[in-house]
Amino acid sequence: MKSAVIVFPGSNREGDMARALQQATHHQPVMVWHADYELPKGTDLVVLPGGFSYGDYLRCGAIAGRAAIMDAVRAHAERGGLVLGVCNGFQILCESGLLPGVLMRNAHLRFVCRMQHLRVEQTNSPFTHKYAARQIIKVCIAHGEGNYEADQATIDRLEGDGRVAFRYCNSEGVLGGVANPNGSRNEIAGIFSEKKNVLGLMPHPENLIDPLVGGIDGRGLFDSLASAA
């Protein structure tokens, strides 16, 4: 599994992401600058890390979504290559058209930074096959704009095609109420593209890979990827 992490001005989770990928795949990911036009040869997985690309100017992910490298990322996705976007990376995927919908300001208008339970909704994907079906995992979230919104037809399509990857829930796996940290439609925390080769999610699995700092529930995603290609 050869991975590339795209670095935008204002990205800040690329180091954490690289550690998580290195731990699971035993390969050092290549850091790729946003103004480059090509991905390294033989790249299996492209990762858009979290952060505040371009200071969240205009709309979160809007300017990064149109960066030079994104044409190469789109072409990689069209070939069936794997793309993962976390937090700001999810916002960039939505802005670049690789995933449908949009991430709006949290419904309560506050930035949320805390631990959060998720329910794994789909295990038949390159990103999630190491998790158990409906497994409850505990990861962290840190965002001000994670309120997933799309028109009803898009929501119906995502639900009907099994493209909701993760949902926010409480420790018992119960959905709704205060378990939804940002007001997302249908408690959506992460979604797949049509072919399930692109995943965007707001929570940060890359920060939950070491028992020393909060737990290892994020490892399932990286272990899934490591054995996917």
Binding site: L58, R59, I63, R66, V102, M104, N106, H108, L109, E149
Partner: protein
Amino acid sequence: MKARVVVTLKNGVLDPQGKAIEGALTSLGVSDIASVRQGKVFDIEISAQDSTQAQQKLITACEKLLANTVIENYSIEI
């Protein structure tokens, strides 16, 4: 040529920021505020042969970057 592009949320899209502003205005004693929706204004200087060409360039700008047409509408004044 000077132009102004106004980007607003589509009807039916929740606007938590507008709601908060609406609440703040009411608590400041500004009466009769029925609702507030927040948008963006871009003042743009553009070189073009005529306003039709400028309009076309600005439509491209809106579609490509200035507006997220999933949730936003835009209007152009030249």
